[in-house]
């Protein structure tokens, strides 16, 4: 199931979503070994940041809610990790966030010198007061941050979008025009809130949090469908994927690669290999290839 993506060869179309386990080279390597074609680091910010107090991640059964709060050592405090990653033998996305265009630019420029295979900018995270999401819902700021980052990096640029954008197809197109090489969608949905009625308090310390997992899959499919119609660059589709059938659904909506986050909880760290196997079984039973099903849901009536 090897696949070409922005000039690199991946062993399969599975991607580890940012913020899931991606805290060190060792664990990223394990995820790759467990059958994941492309792994993403936890989003890297301009300053050291502890993130929010716990509770930060709650499983709701049909999905999760989280407000981890973008913890990061800060891009200048990751020397061990960069050194470890230099010697990697797997393809890597470095995810970057900032509080302003110049912060995005500064972090991305620095990270680019560390030679990840791709840089992803997270302009879509809802779990911090000032970081990220504001850029991804606004056409103009999306354009600014993408073109600013594109100028200073030497690896392909992926832009990660939020489903909160009123017209995610339009935002994607603007990012493409600004120089994005690929779109990643979606980040978490909402935000949502869960109140514990016994203590009468929001369960998350940050009160609100982004939704992920099975319950957001219909939103992910719709967003990917809209983006596929709007752009020509490839899409990393994610949101609620748990099975090979889910992955195929996102590919039919228009995804080239398929990310997994929350399902690591539901099916274990080897979910990547399992999903690849299920996709292979389905494709074989239907005598189809991934290329043949990509965007298939866009074809018109019988």
């Amino acid at each position: 199931m090897t696949i070409q993506f922005l000039g690199k060869t991946l062993k399969n179309p599975m991607v580890l979503a940012s913020g899931i386990l991606g805290n060190s080279k060792d664990i990223l390597e394990r995820v790759h070994e467990q059958g994941c074609g492309l792994v993403t680091m936890k989003s890297i910010g301009p300053e050291p940041r502890d993130g929010h107090k716990n509770p930060t991640v709650i499983d709701l059964g049909h999905g999760m809610i989280n407000a981890v709060g973008l913890p990061s050592p800060g891009h200048l405090n990751m020397e061990n990790e960069w050194k470890d990653l230099e010697k990697r033998d797997f393809p890597l996305i470095a995810s970057v966030y900032g509080g302003s265009v110049s912060e995005y630019q500064r972090v991305a420029k620095f990270v680019s010198t560390k030679k990840p295979d791709f840089i992803e900018i997270n302009i879509s995270c809802p779990n911090s007061e000032k970081h990220g999401m504001i850029f991804g819902v606004n056409p103009q700021s999306s354009h600014e941050v993408v073109s600013a980052v594109k100028k200073v990096i030497n690896v392909p640029l992926i832009v990660k979008l939020t489903p909160q954008a009123l017209d995610i197809g339009q935002i994607a197109k603007i990012c493409e025009d600004a120089g994005a090489d690929a779109i990643c969608a979606i980040n978490t949905v909402g935000p949502g809130m869960v109140i514990d009625i016994e203590s009468k308090r929001p369960v998350l310390a940050f009160k609100k949090g982004g939704l992920s997992g099975p319950m957001i899959k219909p939103v992910a499919v719709r967003c990917i469908f809209d983006i596929y119609k709007a752009v020509n660059i490839p899409i990393i589709g994610l949101g609620g994927v748990t099975t090979g059938e889910d992955a195929i659904e996102l590919i039919m909506a228009g995804a080239s690669l398929v990310g997994i986050g929350s399902a690591v909880r539901y099916r274990g760290i080897d979910v990547f290999g399992k999903v690849v196997k299920e996709m292979e079984t389905w494709l074989k039973a239907h005598s189809l290839s991934i290329e043949e099903i990509k965007g298939a849901a866009h074809k018109e009536a019988l």
């Binding site: 991606g22 050291p48 509770p55 991640v57 989280n66 016994e198």
Partner: protein, 271 residues
């Protein structure tokens, strides 16, 4: 009626009993039939404060308890909780100890590391070799709890021998005692020493690690240690895994995700 979809939000429970174990330790009891294996832990939420992982230190069909050592902000708040106070419980999480019955085993506990070993010890033979140490007498947890005889030691000699649990373990092995398994929990440096001793004598061991945690179920990555996810693959690890575990006794991640030397991690945690 429960929501038809299973959710795994914190289950809100009231403290039904509180036991002051020593000036440094308190145990909180809850009425709830929690599924359980010795060594597993729960995430404990004090609304408005924070949520942290605690071992299940007592367990029966309809009750369980956690034992807290007063250290920092959260645990100092936790030991002030009393009968009727509400906390949220998620879990149990983690793998727990693998119990090999009908063999001669050793248990090595250091300080609060006694907590996860307690319910394990209750399932072991009376002839188990049980070594239990702490800084001082006040940090000896459950001095009267078990059927099994213990060899006590403290750093200052205030209770039992003066010295380290690992010294006693070495002596036991040197005296010709044969172990099929050693279970250990305590400060990481202590567990590392136990592991090294076991390796030298080719005794399999299981130890229980501690890292900063968020989700508790293997998603967020806060607790990774080498290639292992402590909350999910652990907290109990056996010799085979420990041999390859790069960060064992060397590194841990701070809340920010920064990887630091274990000494730095513990100086932060003991601030």
């Amino acid at each position: 009626m429960m929501n038809p979809i299973t959710d795994q939000k914190p289950i809100m429970l009231r403290v039904i009993e509180k036991k002051i174990e020593s000036p440094e330790f308190a145990t909180l009891f809850f009425e709830y039939a929690i599924p359980f294996k010795p060594g597993q832990f729960v995430m404990v939420w004090i609304p408005g404060i924070d949520e942290k992982p605690y071992t299940i230190s007592y367990h029966s069909k309809n009750q369980f308890a956690i034992t807290i050592e007063a250290k920092g902000l959260f645990s100092k708040k936790a030991i002030t909780l009393d009968k009727g106070d509400l906390v949220g419980i998620r879990g149990p999480f983690g793998n727990g100890f693998e119990i090999q019955s009908k063999k001669h085993v050793g248990v090595v506990a250091g300080g609060c590391g006694m907590a996860p070993l307690a319910t394990l010890a209750e399932q072991l033979d009376k002839n188990t070799t049980f070594i239990h140490g702490a800084r001082t007498k006040d940090y000896i947890l459950y001095p009267d709890r078990f059927d099994i005889d213990r060899q006590f030691c403290t750093d200052d000699g205030s209770f039992g021998h003066k010295g380290f649990v690992t010294d006693i373990l070495e002596k036991e092995i040197a005296s010709g005692k044969l172990f099929d398994m050693i279970y250990a929990c305590g400060p990481e440096i202590m567990m590392y020493t136990v592991f090294k001793i076991c390796e030298k004598h080719q005794i399999p061991c299981q130890i229980s690690l501690e890292r900063y945690m968020r989700c508790g179920f293997g998603v967020c990555g806060a607790c990774v240690c080498g290639k292992q996810i402590v909350c999910k693959d652990g907290p109990v690890f056996n010799s085979a895994v420990l041999r390859d575990m790069k960060d064992f006794n060397t590194k841990a991640l701070l809340k920010s995700g920064k990887d630091v030397d274990l000494s730095l991690y513990f100086s932060w945690r003991c601030k």
